[in-house]
Amino acid sequence: MKKIYCNIKKCLGCGSCEIACAIEHSKSRELNKSIAESPLPVKRRKAEFVEESVSISTGCHHCENAACVTACMSGAMYKDKKTALTQHDKDRCVGCWMCIMTCPFGAVTRLREEKIVLKCDLCPDRDKPACVEACQTKSLFLGTLKEFTKICST
């Protein structure tokens, strides 16, 4: 299964991934227009400090045994049978926050007012997710764990 990995050694925590993610999930999909949208577009990826000068860009890991899918009481969070990605159907979501309760990465975003959650959908309209494309240091990588392991060791 292809998903997004972050090489902590390369990540600067610049936040380009966050901005690209928010723009990709905006109505206009353009930076200058999206910042004027209401509601403001919401990012599904976070650049986080590990310690001084060490950062990680993190989001949904599309876990093999996804705790959010197990916990979801409405069936909104589900595993795509073909791709094995963890997907979210906002029309089924009831805002019970069980996914937030169980996500090991803090990768599910809560929309308080709408009473639904958002998470990484791996940018279905693009070949490469917006965050991966925007990453200035190539710390973000789209591929399998095997491929990621290989490029990290070279």
């Binding site: 590990v50 993190t58 009481m73 009831v94 069980m98 996500c103 990465f105 392991t149 990290c152």
Partner: protein, 429 residues
């Protein structure tokens, strides 16, 4: 091979899906005393509240049994298990043979042993039928008494308030949600619930439900009487162990399960609200009758029924509730009973924020977050993996705490964080 599953809620459904990932062809028979079992039990209070439409209640599509080639015996009660003959007697005297059996009989609401409990207008809230029955009489109801201030009692109270009823909740103990959260968190939740018009009376219990055939009120142990046309009993649940117990399967509070979710009998497994497993935080045998545990147990039991060798790491108490825009989530031990435990607390009364972490020997065993619930899953992961958090204990309740801050613990950990998703962190930090 013939698989038989008794019970068709979270555990049963997840077991079917798990079995079918390994065994596409063998026969699966499911026996359920519910006629329409494919709904989400957790959502019935939402349905009662009218905050979701009738479609969202269905956890799986109508075609689920057909799609998974399951013979579903619905509205039928499994009466008896013969462990020697490996067969089950069902309602119509028929016998069903099994090679592998899953007992996922769930739990039943505890009904109070007080006079008048059998009057018309007294309901627990456990099944979709309860919701339908309550809904059908709502036109005639002005006032409701909810007995019990736990999760179900309060969800019912919230639902009926949302339906425009006058709702009063009578709570025997000193505070609401006392099984799940501590007094401080309960205080914040109670204030919000009361502000929105639900009356809560703590330290009061009903001693009788009054009325001729139908309810007209409850008599309380403080001598007063409360008029109402509807009574909801929210006194928790007890596991449906009888069928297992009668068959000679080892039970305690629930059906005792080992780490493969097998009972004391070969080829018989158990999952869900009826099964008693290792509690990760308590480090003792316990039942956590919650949806996520039932789903996970169902999945693992299902896999092991097909001959896999999956280990169940144990269950953890966890609950997420929101009333009138104020959410609270708790995991693990939230009210420690000895001074071996230490607590870290952060409060912001103006914002209704309350956060507490319970530690034992440098390891987190419990957490409560009120109104600022983001990242609580990260704390839950630390509980599950029994990570020593001494190095991060001063920042765990800060707003900037996130996954990045636990990355060094994951890298250092020798026994936890085995899932492939943590490899990225371990490899590149």
């Amino acid at each position: 091979m013939q698989y038989v599953i008794i019970g068709s809620s979270a555990a049963g459904i997840n077991a079917i899906e798990a079995i079918r990932t390994k065994d596409k062809t063998s026969k699966i028979i499911i026996i359920s005393d519910e006629k329409n079992p494919l709904y989400s039990r957790c959502l019935i209070s939402y349905l009662l509240a009218g905050t979701i439409d009738g479609k969202k209640i269905w956890y799986k599509p109508d075609s689920f049994f057909k799609d998974n080639k399951v013979e579903a015996l619905l509205g039928i009660k499994a009466e008896k298990i013969n462990i020697k003959k490996k067969e089950i007697a069902i309602g119509n005297k028929e016998k069903i043979k099994f090679d592998k059996l899953l007992i996922a009989t769930g739990a039943s609401p505890k009904l109070e042993d007080i006079p008048g409990i059998d009057k018309k207008g007294v309901f627990p809230l456990r099944t979709i039928e309860h919701t339908t029955e309550i809904q059908s009489m709502l036109d005639k109801v002005k006032s409701v008494a909810v007995l019990g201030g736990g999760l179900i009692g309060l969800r019912a109270a919230y639902a009926l308030k949302n339906r425009g009823k006058n709702v009063s909740v009578f709570v025997k103990s000193g505070s609401i949600l006392s099984q799940i959260i501590d007094k401080d968190a309960a205080g914040i939740m109670q204030k919000r619930i009361e502000e929105r018009g639900i009356k809560i009376f703590t330290g009061v219990a009903a001693k009788e439900i009054t009325g001729a055939k139908s309810v007209d009120g409850v008599a309380l142990d403080n001598g007063s009487k409360h008029d109402c046309e509807l009574v909801i009993i929210g006194k928790g649940v007890s596991p449906n162990v009888e069928i297992a117990k009668d068959a000679g399967i080892k039970t305690s509070w629930g059906i005792l399960a080992n780490e493969r979710l097998r009972t004391g009998v070969e080829d018989i497994f158990t999952a869900g609200d009826v099964s008693e497993t290792n509690d990760i935080a308590l480090e003792e045998s316990s039942i956590n009758a919650i949806w996520p545990a039932a789903c996970e147990q169902g999945r693992i039991a299902g896999l092991n029924m097909t001959g896999e060798n999956e280990t169940y790491e144990g269950s953890l108490a966890m609950n997420s509730i929101e009333f009138f825009g104020l959410p609270v989530i708790s995991v693990g031990i939230t009210k420690p009973k000895s001074d071996r435990y230490k607590e870290i607390v952060k409060k912001d009364a103006g914002k209704n924020i309350y956060k507490k972490i319970v530690l034992k020997d440098g390891i987190i065993v419990g957490v409560i977050f009120v109104n600022s619930i983001e990242n609580i899953g990260i704390i839950g992961t630390l509980i599950k993996n029994k990570a020593d958090v001494t190095s991060i204990k001063d920042i765990m309740l800060e707003d900037y705490f996130d996954y990045g801050k636990i990355a060094p613990l994951i890298k250092k950990s020798k026994r936890g964080f085995k899932e492939p998703e943590f490899k990225e962190t371990i490899m590149t930090l």
